[in-house]
């Protein structure tokens, strides 16, 4: 099966062709936003990272930022720095050059201040946009698609409607040769045996248990019952009683095919099929990790309702119930509540989600793109310096 997509210079396919204005340090975020607002057709993100990262955390931040900027949906990046930071545009640019991603660099201190930097940034962004505009969609095989699957603001309906339906869609994409990346490891605690039984081999099974055990150990160090944080107050109001219950419903969204690989946070899978990515369940953090790992589209189920999106990728929102779909319709794309209302089977909804993925890949906008949600976050793994 074919979809129309952009072919990037390193051979990967993208379903969008964004010009991203990316601050590598919090001090440059405002300039990045101002440049993006002044140049229609560009996107920017905002984050508090870029300085004070020690050792392993520095590598983690660089890998995630570079992976995000090199996502195949990105046609060009304007990297914005202040001039004295730890993670400078030059550090990220080295990665982008290796992956043949077009970029430009802007430094606030070199320009002589933020106003001058905005003026210079607008010129650079316009030039990147002109270069990127030459790209055209060509027919590519669906097997080139990597989707990230997520749930957020879950309720008990998540495990009854939207997640099983997304699982059915995931199975279809895997059958077509594509890749499905599932993450949110705290929401595998209580379901890791269910997952391990479906690992493609013993090594993958051991890795699933290892990352789940490590996540639970770090949770335990806080010395409190995780309930109240995970599940969250909204999850509990939505009927989820324990973390185990949430996890058993959450893992359904990856579908039923064997788990081929376990990768680290923001690490690109080297296998196709269903893959697990390590990392937190925090919505913006897991979204960012999936995009840094190369996912071109995210499918995100929600029971309580969330408008979260991404600057560089379509996020398809699937409501778990009809009451939510009516209440927050502006932010949601599909209603899996039809399963609970009696009108539609899980498999039929899975087909509908799969068709939406294909349509969105070909250019149809999601609500989160129309409403310009550009959430971005990376978790800290080291001491605050």
């Amino acid at each position: 099966m074919k979809i129309p997509a952009f072919l990037s210079k390193n051979g990967q396919i993208g379903v969008r062709n964004h010009i991203l204005v990316f601050p590598t340090i919090i001090c440059a975020a405002q300039v990045a936003e101002a440049v993006s607002r002044a140049v229609p057709g560009t996107v920017s993100v905002n984050h508090p990272h870029g300085c004070g990262h020690l050792g392993e955390e520095r590598e983690h931040m660089v890998r995630t930022m570079a992976g995000y900027c090199a996502n195949p949906n990105v046609g060009g990046v304007l990297l914005v720095g202040l001039g004295c930071e730890l993670i400078s545009p030059q550090v990220i640019a080295a990665e982008l050059a290796a992956r043949r991603v077009p970029y430009a660099i802007l430094s606030i201190q070199a320009c002589g201040g933020s106003a001058a930097a905005v003026r210079r940034g607008v010129e650079l962004a316009r030039r990147l946009k002109r270069q990127a505009r030459r790209a055209e969609r060509i027919e590519v095989d669906l097997s080139q698609l990597k989707i990230g699957v997520k749930c957020g603001g879950s309720d008990t309906f998540s495990g009854l409607s939207a997640n099983p339906a997304l699982g059915a869609a995931s199975d279809r994409l895997v059958a077509a040769g594509g890749t499905v990346i599932m993450t949110e490891v705290p929401e595998m605690i209580g379901a890791e045996e269910v997952l391990s039984r479906r690992a493609a081999n013993q090594r993958v099974a051991a890795r699933i248990r290892q990352i789940t055990r490590r996540m639970e150990q770090s949770i335990m160090r806080a010395g409190v019952d995780v309930r109240g944080t995970e599940p969250s107050p909204g999850n509990i109001a939505g009927g989820l009683t324990t973390l185990e219950e949430k996890s058993l419903g959450a893992v359904l969204k990856g579908g039923s095919t064997p788990i081929r690989q376990v990768v680290g946070y923001a690490e690109s899978p080297s296998r196709t099929g269903l893959v697990i990515m390590d990392g937190p369940a925090l919505d913006a953090v897991s979204l960012t990790g999936l995009l840094a790992a190369g996912a071109q589209i995210i499918v995100f189920t929600t029971g309580r309702g969330t408008p979260l999106g991404a600057a560089i990728a379509p996020v398809i929102k699937v409501a778990t119930n009809s009451r939510l779909f009516q209440a927050m319709g502006d932010d949601l794309d599909l209603n899996a509540g039809e399963i609970l209302d009696g009108g539609m089977s899980i498999d039929a909804m899975g087909q509908r989600i799969f068709e939406k993925i294909c349509a969105v890949a070909g250019g149809e906008a999601t609500r989160s793109e129309i409403l310009q949600h550009h959430e971005f976050a990376i978790h800290n793994i080291g001491p605050a310096v």
């Binding site: 009854l160 010395g223 019952d225 995780v226 185990e244 029971g303 009696g342």
Partner: protein, 94 residues
């Protein structure tokens, strides 16, 4: 026919209400069609016991243990954070 509550797996001892259930209401469980009377109000999306769950016994959903009952729960009783404890992520028990 509208569904009142779903019991996902035959091993489950809880069902999930698809709409608010009133105390004393008789309902039909899907997919197997058993009858059950709700003992108290069950909010939409929340759970009720399909048979008596003893104090300390596993609460089973999706065919797996999701926690342990902290009090005895009668058939038709509301099952949630007030009478179920999780076993995982319990840093408070260290």
């Amino acid at each position: 026919m509208p569904v009142d509550a779903i019991r996902i797996d035959p091993r489950d001892n809880v069902a999930t209400a698809l709409r608010e259930l009133a105390a004393g209401e008789c309902l039909t469980l899907s997919p197997a069609g058993e009858s059950l009377t709700a003992l108290e109000t069950i909010p939409a999306g929340h759970k009720l016991a399909v048979r008596t769950i003893e104090r300390g016994a596993p609460v089973i959903k999706y065919g797996e243990t999701i926690g342990l009952a902290t009090r005895e729960i009668a058939a038709g009783g509301y099952v949630h954070v007030h009478n179920v404890a999780g076993r995982r992520g319990r840093g408070d028990l260290l």
